[in-house]
Amino acid sequence: MATGAAPARFHRAFFVGALTIVAVLALWWVATTGTRWLNPLRLPAPSEVWAALQQILDRGYAGATLWQHAMHSLGLVARGFAVAIVTGIPLGLLMGWSRRAEALINPIFLLLRPIPALAWIPLAIVWFGLGDTGKVFVIWLTAFVPAVINAFTGVRNVDPVLIAAARTQGASTAQVIRHVVIPGSMPLIFTGLRLSLQASWTTLVAAELVGAFFGLGRVLNIAGQDIFPGMIIVGMVAVAVCGAATTWLLGLLERRVLNWRQAI
């Protein structure tokens, strides 16, 4: 039940996964189109989603084509994510390394953390206006948290013996941080980055409530206002595809950086 030859297992999983997706799509078609068990007004039929996709690809929807919306959102997510990395990881490392810094910063961090992106939108608008800054701010807020937490946990999980060993070889604090603490935290930092990236994408819809001209979040918001289920599904799929693609890219980077890790 728990073992098996790896390649065979992979093939099987791939096969079952593909079959499941096909089965769900078929069930969807049957329920909405074949038999009309479900009212197509509540769950759009595949043909309606297809038509919505055609519409947004050819004629555009909410002011632009799907491609333009996606590129715009990608830009926003990239910026929010980048700012989260640049601010979150050093803060997490600092809090992990120094218990004093932890005691100083952590309570505030814990108090601000549960406030969702959506709740910041009124302030984002009055502080940053309707430009991209406000949207990047909202994305940063959510992407920031996993970056901090995982960098923090990463430092705390570095084997103290490694630090002791480096010390006995005459390493200075800076050398210990550079050669032991940071590489030792890297696996968890990457876990955090993956969560941050996911958070960035899931916050996009909220971020684009800050008066967006383009973007997948705007597509979803307008489709929601128009009660256009086909387009809502198109928007959701587009966000999911962008999220999966960027996560895959991050995975490539991770494999390069963590090449020293035992292949699992």
Partner: protein, 269 residues
């Protein structure tokens, strides 16, 4: 011997007094900085009211109804909504995650479906939630459910996969049936992972709350904030954020307590 921090994080443990002094200093810096910015006139009050103004607003909202209810009623409405949605996520996510860990076929069926909706924001479900479940309770609950379901499922699944295969084998050699193995080996073995997953999921579920209050209104912190914004009352908006922050913090602290209790009981440190 002066600097004993040479071992880094593992080497230093703060004294109780020093810890609380630093915590206090952190709060002082945060609120003091806020107060200074608010009072300096750099930010007008409708952009950033001072902490004192927010406090006064809180006291007022506590005693006088705003948007139809006093603050405590908004709080309880939000908490009730959250608890229901979260309970459903836990009730479905954890058993499903355990079963996925135990039956590989279920894992293979669900994982691709699950992966494909992971990136979709809870907020994106708002229009569909209203369409599918209306407002009675269903719509708002779906949003919280979507927000908190994933960590429940993943943590139970990971927990089940991390159970020592030898424990399972030992139970099998003692003649335990599948059901008994799940009950006596799998669930307790997965417990530490489940508990930490509960913490994460409660946090995320609470964060979806404001989104859920976009579907139907009446009472709730999110509603309070939107109405405050409609009145150009940033102090009310921040008062709502304070409530969300404090309750979220309390939920986290409570679940941390549960986590610590379990760790002690199961002899992990």
């Amino acid at each position: 011997m002066a600097n004993r921090n040479f071992l880094g994080p593992a080497g230093t443990v703060l004294g109780v007094v020093e810890f609380w002094l630093l915590t206090l200093a952190g709060f002082t810096l945060f609120f003091g900085g806020w107060m200074l910015v608010a009072w300096s006139g750099l930010m007008p009050a409708n952009l950033l009211p001072s902490p004192l103004a927010v406090w006064e607003t809180l006291v007022r909202l506590w005693n006088q109804p705003f948007a139809g209810h006093v603050y405590a009623e908004h709080l309880t409405a939000s908490i009730g909504r959250f608890l229901m949605g979260w309970a459903i996520a836990v009730a479905i996510g954890i058993p499903l995650g355990l079963l996925m860990g135990w039956y590989r076929i279920l894992d293979e069926i669900i994982t691709p479906l699950f992966d494909s909706i992971r990136f979709v924001a809870p907020l994106a479900w708002v229009p569909l939630a209203a369409l599918w479940f209306g407002t009675g309770i269903g719509g708002p609950l779906l949003i919280i459910f979507v927000g908190s379901f994933a960590p429940c499922l993943i943590s139970a699944y990971r927990g089940a996969r991390l159970v020592e295969p030898r424990l399972v084998e030992a139970a099998q050699t003692m003649g335990a049936s599948g059901r008994r193995i799940i009950q006596h080996v799998l669930v307790p073995g997965a417990m530490p992972s489940i508990i930490s997953g509960l913490r994460v999921s409660a946090g995320l579920g609470w964060q979806s709350l404001v989104g859920s209050e976009l579907i139907v209104v009446g009472a709730g912190l999110g509603y309070l904030m939107v109405q405050g914004q409609g009145n150009l009352a940033t102090n009310i908006v921040i008062a709502g954020m304070v409530g969300i922050g404090v309750v979220g913090f309390a939920i986290d602290v409570a679940l941390r307590g549960v986590e610590a209790w379990f760790k002690r009981r199961w002899g992990q440190t």
